[in-house]
Amino acid sequence: MPHDGHDHHEDEGSELSPIALRVRALESLLVEKGYVDPAALDVLIETYETKVGPRNGVRVVAKAWSDPDFADWLKRDATAAIASLGFQGRQGEHMVALFNSAAVHNMVVCTLCSCYPWPVLGLPPVWYKSMPYRSRAVIEPREVLREFGIEIAASKEVRVWDSTAEVRYLVIPERPEGSEGFSEEQLAELVTRDSMIGTGLARRPQ
């Protein structure tokens, strides 16, 4: 950060970037005006750091792979099926589960902003919100998938879901070969975050 040398009484704030200073100043202003409770900010941050993340979605997928009744429920009413595991609410009010198959590989994007199923995947990674992904996922999905290291057979349809409304999509990846007889806990080890966005595949058992 540029430093003019005149501010001899600065605190650690002088080490902060301009945006960091502005965010800090805005927080103190909004607290001073009584619009926000600083303790509520801490709870919000802690929630998405420790309680809500892709491990929730991993449980949904592992259960879908091991329990056909649950998989059926996910297909019929994903919001209710996912809520039965305790995952619901903000940015997951209207859930749809997209089952990958031998014929279709599903992949999710939000070209207009950054819509993402928070209760099951947490906050989106930087690349999901980035201009390259948002712009290219719909027009050249196979090239984008190659940048994630996956190649989809030409015989398969790549179906991209652009989340333009309040519906949120969770991809259920194909259960990998070699996982026959695995417990739900063992299956969970094979599920990655990217496989639930559709920019990855489930891991193959070692």
């Binding site: 902060l16 009584g34 926000v36 997951g92 930087v126 719909v138 652009d162």
Partner: protein, 217 residues
């Protein structure tokens, strides 16, 4: 509006560059900026569609050059100043110089879990005839609204097929513009890559579109 946010179909932004083992935050200010956006949304001073529209109204170069949380911060400032909750001078100085305005709710720490768990469902009960059924072929209207819309430019004028019916949902084009929720039937429409891009592949794009965006074809 044809704002900088409507990105589908551009190809000039380079590779995606996913980061291995990406941390949740990339700077200490990001979680604070994130939480401020959420907490101010909880005051009820604006709805989610107005918040999205604020981001779209940022100057295009600022939108494209900013990191995600910077962009969210600038859009929050725009809303705070437009609604009079703060003044530009207060933002610059970081101190209150005029009395706060009343807000519907200040979310206290103990209220947060219930607020997040409840979320903000967009479906509404309304007696409205359903215009389309799964399998119907529809054309996305070729329109250029001046205000907020969730009809991406790349779909306008294109023909697709209704694949899902989601019920009646708040219509963002109204709700973002202070014109009420005006709930409408919401569908997922599947468009082939050939229709959208002239590319002869098996691929397709499914887009959530409200009935006013669509016409029978």
């Amino acid at each position: 509006m044809n704002g900088p946010h409507d990105m589908g179909g551009f190809t000039g932004f380079g590779p995606v560059n996913p980061e291995a083992d990406e941390p949740l935050w990339h700077a200490d200010w990001e979680p604070r900026a994130f939480a401020l956006v959420l907490a101010m949304g909880m005051t009820g001073r604006w709805n989610i569609d107005e918040a999205r529209h604020a981001r779209e109204r940022l100057p295009a170069m600022q939108y494209w050059r900013s990191s995600y949380y910077e962009m969210r911060h600038y859009a929050l400032l725009l809303q705070l100043i437009e609604t009079g909750l703060i003044s530009a001078l207060e933002e610059e100085q970081g101190h209150m110089s005029r009395a706060p305005l009343p807000v519907k709710r200040v979310a206290k720490a103990e209220m947060i879990p219930a607020i997040l768990s409840a979320g903000g469902p967009a479906n509404r009960a309304r007696n409205l005839p359903q215009g389309f059924r799964p399998g119907d072929r529809v054309r996305a209207r070729n329109i250029t609204p001046e205000g907020h819309t969730r009809l991406p430019r790349y779909a306008r004028g294109k023909v697709g097929e209704i694949v899902l019916v989601h019920g009646i949902h708040v219509f963002p084009d109204s709700n973002a513009m202070g014109q009420g929720e005006n709930p409408q039937w919401l569908y997922t429409v599947r468009f082939t890559a050939e229709e959208l891009w002239g590319r002869n592949t098996r691929d397709s794009v499914c887009i959530d579109l409200w009935e006013p965006y669509l016409e029978a074809c």
